[in-house]
Amino acid sequence: MSHAPRDRVKWLIAISVVVLYALIPVLWMISLSLKKSSTIGTDTSFFPSDPTLDNYSALFKSGSDFSRALVNSFGIAAIATLIAIVLAAMAAYALARLQFAGKALILSGSLAIAMFPPISIVGSLFNVWRNVGLFDTWPGLIIPYMTFSLPLAIYTLSAFYREIPWELEQAAQVDGATPFQAFTKVILPLAAPGTFTAAILVFIFAWNDFLFANTLTSTANARTVPATLAFFTGASQFDQPIAAIAAAAVVVTVPIIVVVLIFQRRIVAGLTAGAVKG
């Protein structure tokens, strides 16, 4: 099928606008992170006039809370994702495959919990955590992260698992496979991609959290990257360390962008699987 050149130009413009829309704030953050911190505040141009990597080396120098925050962010998000995926995979298997009363209740219940305003439980958790010693600890964040990671995982996984051709398991058994072989050799490879996608989505959510990280931590002990960024301090309390924040922002953004780019097809499938089914 051939298209008129006028059509091609029209689409080229539309596509360029969308791509620029998505990229400009990211490019701006990168360019800001390359500016000399002394020129920020006077130099308001988009591109750095004299690019430098000083901001990045300052970020990782010893005594900075940032490396510690990266470890916290990664560890807390990974553990929360692992727990949520294991629990949700069991539930989603039952929801997708078994017949039982209460199925619709579990699905709509988890959807309702996903819509839950986190600020509503921050006060209770703040109060309880201080008394039971969970304040400013990893478990102190991992537990509240279950409020959004579990519903998200259950919803996405049950949508994926419903698409699996479960008859193949019986077919394999007819062909002489043991039930264990049928499950591990036939079903697991089919379920793995969807499970992995759900894990990426849950990880992104946990990595993104700011409200819990901000309210339930107070030191580098458990403070994650978003909370650390918000409390970065400059030379004086009125001076925001813009260059340092920009460099830190780029550091935490790059891994997510790489993951998103590699797994884009799956992420799109995962984001829409739970909401709208074709």
């Binding site: 298209h3 091609r8 689409w11 596509i15 829309y21 990229l23 704030p25 990211v26 953050m29 800001l32 505040g41 308001t44 629990l87 949700a88 069991m90 298997y93 039952a94 078994l98 017949q99 039982f100 209460g102 619709a104 988890s110 839950f116 305003p117 600020i119 509503s120 439980i121 921050v122 006060g123 703040f126 109060n127 309880v128 537990i143 509240p144 279950m146 409020t147 579990l150 992104i204 700011f210 409200l211 901000n214 309210t215 978003p226 960024l229 918000a230 920009a246 922002a249 935490v252 953004t253 997510i256 998103v260 884009q264 984001l271 829409t272 739970g274 909401a275 709208v276 089914k277 074709g278």
Partner: protein
């Protein structure tokens, strides 16, 4: 047969039990506890004065000017950002659906704002619009810092929210667009319908369920807005939202009793919004999924 279905039911509940128990513990218990706290005078700075006061905290909050201003601010941010997202999201979805080339490129780019940490996006837009550091004021020839005024602050907050969450909206709408059969468009074209007529008479009605679900998700999400406002204004310039108010009451002022009352009220607001969408407009996710 009934033996089998009974054992199936038992297996199902065993498999679901851990997830359901954890969900109830991490959300049910804290919200009940928040309600209990909200009935007490409980200020961590004066713990000795702790006592049961019934609904006094609620009447304090509901008669205060601050609460209603903050509800208004939250509604402004929600309505404008979700409205703009629907418009922009529909445009992007149409580009992804109809483009004759470059669909993959568009999809890849729109996932970038989705993946970025909200706090990072908030800083990027703050530093771009702030007069001392940003390129936007000189580009647009602004004489005043946008963050010096209430409307300017609102505008940047809304733009940040729109930038960050439009991709999600666009992907949900794209999935809805895929449900509209091409034959209907072909038939209408033969009958002489214009592009515009086909969009309003075929695409939109058939996409109604998808649009409502996308709007429901995003409205509830926007109503909880916290990160962007916290980073960009901290609630200054009368841009405080209900979540920020709850935060300040609970964490900054350590007034657990009144803060909990605010938390419970926000929870009730969110339920009300969901009820309006589901009962009022008939938004249904189950129907979309071919169940129910």
């Amino acid at each position: 047969m009934s033996d089998r279905s009974r054992s199936e039911r038992r297996t199902a509940w065993l498999l679901c039990a851990p997830a359901v128990t954890v969900m109830l513990l991490v959300t049910g218990y804290p919200i009940v506890y928040a309600f209990i706290l909200s009935l007490q005078r409980y200020d961590l700075r004066f713990p000795a004065q702790k006592k049961f006061v019934g609904f006094a905290n609620y009447s304090d909050v509901l008669t205060s000017h601050t609460w209603w201003t903050d509800v208004f601010n939250t509604v402004v941010i929600t309505v404008f950002s979700v409205g703009l997202e629907l418009l922009l999201g529909m445009c992007i979805a149409l580009v992804m659906h109809r483009a004759i080339f470059g669909r993959g490129l568009v999809r890849t780019s729109v996932l970038i704002p989705y993946g970025i940490v909200t706090v990072v996006a908030a800083f990027a837009w703050l530093y771009a619009f702030q007069k001392t550091s940003g390129f936007v004021p000189s580009l647009l020839g602004l004489s005043q810092d946008p963050f010096a005024s209430r409307s300017g602050s609102f505008l940047v907050i809304i733009l940040t929210e729109v930038w960050k969450t439009t991709p999600f909206m666009a992907l949900l709408l794209l999935a809805g667009l895929a449900l509209v059969p091409d034959e209907l468009h072909e038939a209408a074209k033969i009958d002489g319908a214009t592009v515009w007529q086909r969009f309003w008479r075929i695409t939109i009605p058939l996409m109604r369920p998808a649009i409502l679900v996308a709007l429901l998700f995003r409205t509830l999400d926007a109503f909880r807005v916290f990160d962007t406002v916290f980073i960009q204004t901290g609630g200054a310039n009368k841009t405080e939202t209900v979540s920020i108010l709850g935060y300040h009451e609970l964490i900054t002022r350590l007034n657990i009793g009144e803060g909990s009352a605010i938390s419970v009220l926000i929870f009730i607001c969110v339920i009300l919004i969901a009820v309006v969408f589901v009962k009022g407009f008939g938004a249904s996710t189950a129907q979309q999924r071919g169940e129910a």
